[in-house]
Amino acid sequence: MSPLAERQRGFAAALLDADAGTPAGLVGPDGAPSARRFAVYRNNVIVGLSESLMVTFPAVCRIVGEEFFLAMARAYVVADPPRSPMLLEYGAGFADFIARFPPAAELQYLPDVARIENAWKESFHSAEAAPLPLAALAAIPEARMTALRLHLHPSLRLVPSRFPALTIWRMNVDDGVPSPVDLAAGGEDVLIVRPAAQVEVRMVPPGGAAFIGRLGEGAALGAAASAGLGASSTFDLAANIAGLVSAGALSGYDFIDDHPGAA
């Protein structure tokens, strides 16, 4: 290994391991090693990344408190540091990490709140697309409906939860006021979409998550509706489509029989 490669390997390893000593040959102005000086870099990396997670996950931070959050974020940064200079994407695995983080085990809904926040950020930075207007759908002949394939807006994200995760998220962002929540009250499936400049967060009606999930996989309307009905006996196809259109969550459509060979 070249001297530079060896130097950077040792430097990088010591940055992420607080128990590692200061690599040899990193010195102060007197030529003597300085742990305090090396610690500046270690602090910049670990604290910098932890604070960037605090920006992405404000509700998680408010729920557990800043001290707990920073300890949890630090553990995550060391276990799963960024793999790309695209820091806008960092934190996608934080919700799964929280689910496996023993000190947070009691807060079973916390990973889903983190999933909402990561989805919000992804939606915020996603590609632009004009939302499909209702008039465009109204023009489609009835007979073509089962072959219709609705295209989800590129900013759409779905976070299904068996907890009231949306209620909890809302009361912990902006001017939200935390109040007691009945965790057994049933799940909330959350739709996040940014049809224009603003990210919008909505609750999905029963069966809607399964329906939207199938649409996202490229299923035709008939097949997606079956999935919705399979998930909930009260699934209402018309209401679900109207909800997606009014949310600006669709960006276009085509027909499955226009693509011979498509499933």
């Binding site: 001297p3 130097r7 305090r36 990396v45 695209m86 820091l87 915020f124």
Partner: protein
């Protein structure tokens, strides 16, 4: 089309100030953005930046390319930089004398390099690749450092001059970094500036730092960009521009970002120093 950055004072663009800028149209020379904050596919950051770019010249400052790493540049990242250069046609494009990636990990800090022939060769190769891919000159920024490498064989200024000579890149002189490094390394900051290859400098940065102390009780300055520019740095800036004449100068404030009016006041102070340097230069020309 690329719009040249005037020899005036610009301000680092922060989301907190988007509305102040679009509504108030403040008289500043240009805005500069961290490239990585605009690498999403779409969304409000691009909407605001496009609107502000309509009104002001723009400078693009990368913080994640890891030019000093002993590994090939991340091609995907370099192409993202190239894409931003095409999309926003910034008047200046800069990166750092630093590394921040190792194997698969992005370390998210501007880490220092040893000043050796090996590092010089590696960095020169990387800058050649950047300038070829992006199709323009890049500026390289001098680092703020907290420690030195026992294996270094070049003084920092000589190392930077060698890079500029070898690659044809321009230089971005961060005067706060000069003060931070000079304090931490016990160099003379005026001697550093006087020895710096000022003929290659195309832009100046100013920012704030935090004073701490090291294990031996010596001052240790941290490049935090979270407060006003220090008085000593204002003095070094005046010294620099008295030698170079007015250059595009950026005021950076990246953490604990203040109200727009506070940042604007810093920019006005920098502008008055640039104007004084300009007047001094004019006097020298007419006297000569």
């Amino acid at each position: 089309m690329r719009e040249e950055i005037p020899a005036r004072v610009g301000v680092g663009l922060k989301p907190k100030h988007y509305r102040d800028i679009l509504d108030g149209r403040p008289d500043v020379g240009f805005f500069e953005v961290h490239a990585e904050n605009y690498m999403g596919a779409g969304g409000p950051p691009h909407r605001y930046l496009a609107a502000i770019r309509e009104l002001y010249p723009l400078s693009l400052h990368g913080v994640g390319l890891s030019i000093g790493a002993d590994r090939p540049l991340d091609r995907a990242h370099l192409l993202r930089l190239e894409g931003l250069n095409r999309r926003y046609a910034p008047g200046l494009f800069s990166e750092h004398l630093a590394w921040s990636t190792h194997e698969a990990t992005f370390l998210n800090d501007l880490l220092p390099v040893p000043y050796t022939d090996e590092t010089l060769a590696r960095i020169a190769e990387h800058i050649d690749e950047v300038q070829e891919t992006v199709g323009r000159q890049m500026l390289l920024e001098n680092p703020s450092t907290y420690l030195a490498f026992a294996e270094s064989t070049y003084p920092e200024v000589d190392f930077i001059r060698a890079i500029a000579t070898r690659t044809g890149c321009g230089l971005l002189l961060d005067v706060n970094n000069v003060h931070v490094s000079a304090t931490n390394q016990q160099w003379d900051p005026l001697a550093y500036i006087d020895a710096f290859p000022l003929e290659h400098v195309r832009e100046i940065h100013l920012g704030g730092h935090a004073p701490e102390i090291d294990d031996a009780g010596r001052p240790l300055l941290i490049d935090t960009h979270d407060r006003e520019v220090d008085e000593i740095v204002w003095g070094l800036f005046a010294h620099t521009v008295s030698r170079t004449g007015p250059l595009p100068t950026l005021v950076e404030w990246d953490a604990n970002v203040p109200e727009w009016s506070v940042l604007k006041a810093e920019a006005e102070r920098a502008e008055s120093i640039l104007l004084a340097a300009d007047a001094e230069g004019a006097r020298r020309v007419s006297a000569g």
